[in-house]
Amino acid sequence: MGRFLLKRSFSALLTLLAVSVLTFLMFFVLPRDPVTGMCPKNCNPERLERVRQELGLSDPKVEQYLGYIKGIFVGRDLSSAQGGYCDAPCLGYSYVNNEPVSATITRVLPVTISIVVPAAILWLSLGIGLGMVSAVHRGTWLDRAAIGFALTGASLQLYFVGGVLLLAFTYHWGIAPVPHYTPFLDNPVDWAGGLVLAWVALALLFSAIYARLSRAQMLETLSEDFIRTARAKGVPRSQVYGRHALRAAITPLVTIAGLDIGAALGGTVITEITFGLQGLGRTAVDAVRSGDLPTIMATVLVAAFFIVTANLVVDLLYAAIDPRVRLK
């Protein structure tokens, strides 16, 4: 187990490094002049030159990259215009927001987490529950209704669903408040109220996918020998479904759920834009629109970090749930 963990962590780290190199190349080598994008409006040539100097853009590219990576792990010195010394997870300095990028990230990350985690709990329980019920009652009207829901949900677009939800619940009936973010610790009720539409929209779309998957998994499991054996031994039906079958059917879902949640934590771009919530995704969009390169790089890296970590966690979880994997 220890060796497995070590090997997987190493390859995850390697993947992250590759992503960072790619992102770096993309933004610092590809465009004609990154500074024009980085400098806010009304830039004069002297200011441009100063920014270029401060960013060390005349240094060799490899040196620039190594400096960036060093900043992430141990922090580094930035020029005084960039706030001087930049502490350990240093992601550079944004001239657009006039603050270190890590400050921006710590501000917006809780928003994305607050959107994703409750939504994931909602979509997983709704989706898996629906899939199980429809598999157990295969061929009934209940099953057909669940399949219908799953296929419809999987084809809907988040911005459309979000728009309709906003129109109905906020503007028309006035049940839900206009989406906003309040920190959970400040006021849990307000926190939930401001995000509930985003949760519902995400849950509607994602639970559809999970209902479909878990139904297929459950049907496959139910046709296996060990289920028949358990039934023949006289184990009650509810226990066979709830324990034996569920555990076997849920394993592949763990993989997909982990990857989905990881990807969502990297920024629910469309959700955040649709509901006007300033999370990681919307920050990335804003950064792209204003040409704020350090922030773009940081958001891509953070998102990739979540995806890669999710991959790792999923592999470990898989080994924990499924004893067959551990043996290999």
Partner: protein, 336 residues
């Protein structure tokens, strides 16, 4: 033979019986190829038929957009400002729905929604088909190579797959598309629509091949050790022959299914890019950008939101249904 059975039922029985073709009820029945079997199964599946017909209709609408334009008598760029009130909102029920403007008019510019939607569908479908074809081709080549050759080729391709899957698609696309445009065209120059479309397809290709490659690799690894591959190798067949003549024919089913499910995924993704403002640019009509524009009128002109929103839902829904039905039809184990 039982006279009450229809001819199709007999055909299916003939295919399933492993013996030589028999003469039943006066008609000669030959064995059927897997493709014919699939076609037969698809035709029997009500969902497949309905979604298939819907898709054909949508494709015809998309392909015949110029013809429809000519018959409808309105172009996608024509503005009907006189049909708007002084606030720029369309007059009449459902956002200005009338005999002349079937789905009403856009607020502000006063362009016809119906004709912009047919034209927008053409853009979306073109991009989706091109992207799905390219990613499938790349994925199949990379996947078969990795799976068959193994060793360092496998590990390096596998690593590239990991990296491609670890990149956050939307954020990366968001950053790359404007950067690439800026590289070739200055900030003041207009980016030609064709170039933008090519960049979007390219972005999909960079990200999309990994999924197919992983799928194909898994299939190839399990096929590699089979006797027919050994037989080909022993008889001196080259790598190309084994890959394309021996392995590929066995991979058609999963490739076809992943292709058909990739289409709606790319339609969705392209709409998402346009929604974020980095997809196809004005004045080329596009479904995603229509929705993005329309959301600003959510309270004042809901009909404007609903027409493109429902259209894109129907397109994706039909593709998803058909993809599912195709999967069932191609799966010899499925009981239908």
């Amino acid at each position: 033979m039982n006279a009450t059975r229809g001819p199709e039922r007999q055909l299916e029985e003939a295919t399933l019986s492993s013996g030589p073709s028999e003469n039943r009820g006066g008609t000669t029945v030959a064995g059927r190829s897997p493709a014919q079997l699939t076609w037969l199964r698809l035709r029997r599946d009500r969902t497949a038929v309905i979604s298939g017909v819907t898709l054909v209709v949508l494709l015809v609408i998309a392909l015949a957009a110029p013809l429809i334009e000519w018959m409808y008598g309105i172009g996608p760029q024509d503005q009907f400002q006189h049909a708007l009130d002084r606030y720029g909102m369309p007059v009449g029920p459902g956002g200005g729905v009338s005999g002349e403007h079937w789905f009403g008019l856009e607020p502000g510019l006063g362009r016809d929604i119906f004709i912009r939607m047919t034209a927008g569908m053409r853009t979306s479908l073109l991009i989706a088909f091109a992207a799905a074809t390219i990613t499938s081709a790349l994925g199949v080549v990379a996947g078969t190579l990795a799976g068959y050759v193994g060793g360092w080729v496998d590990s390096s391709i596998g690593w590239f797959i990991d990296v491609a899957l670890a990149l956050p698609f939307l954020i990366f696309a968001l950053a790359v598309v404007p950067t690439v445009s800026l590289r070739f065209y200055g900030p003041r120059e207009a980016v030609p629509a064709g170039f933008q479309v090519a960049v979007i397809i390219g972005i999909f290709a960079v990200f999309g091949w990994a999924g197919t490659a992983r799928l194909v690799r898994g299939q190839v690894v399990s096929l590699r050790e089979r006797e027919f591959v050994d037989a080909a190798r022993v008889s001196g067949a080259g790598l190309g022959h084994i890959l394309f003549r021996e392995l590929l024919p066995n991979l058609w089913a999963p490739i076809l299914v992943s292709f058909s499910l990739a289409l709606p995924a790319y339609i969705t993704a392209e709409a998402a890019l346009s929604f974020l403002g980095i997809g196809v640019l004005e004045p080329v009509p596009d479904l995603g950008r229509m929705i993005e524009r329309s959301l600003g009128y959510l309270q004042t002109d809901p009909a404007y939101v609903f027409f493109p929103g429902i259209t894109i839902f129907v397109v994706v829904f039909a593709f998803n249904l058909f993809g599912d039905a195709l999967r069932d039809a191609l799966d010899p184990r499925s009981t239908r």
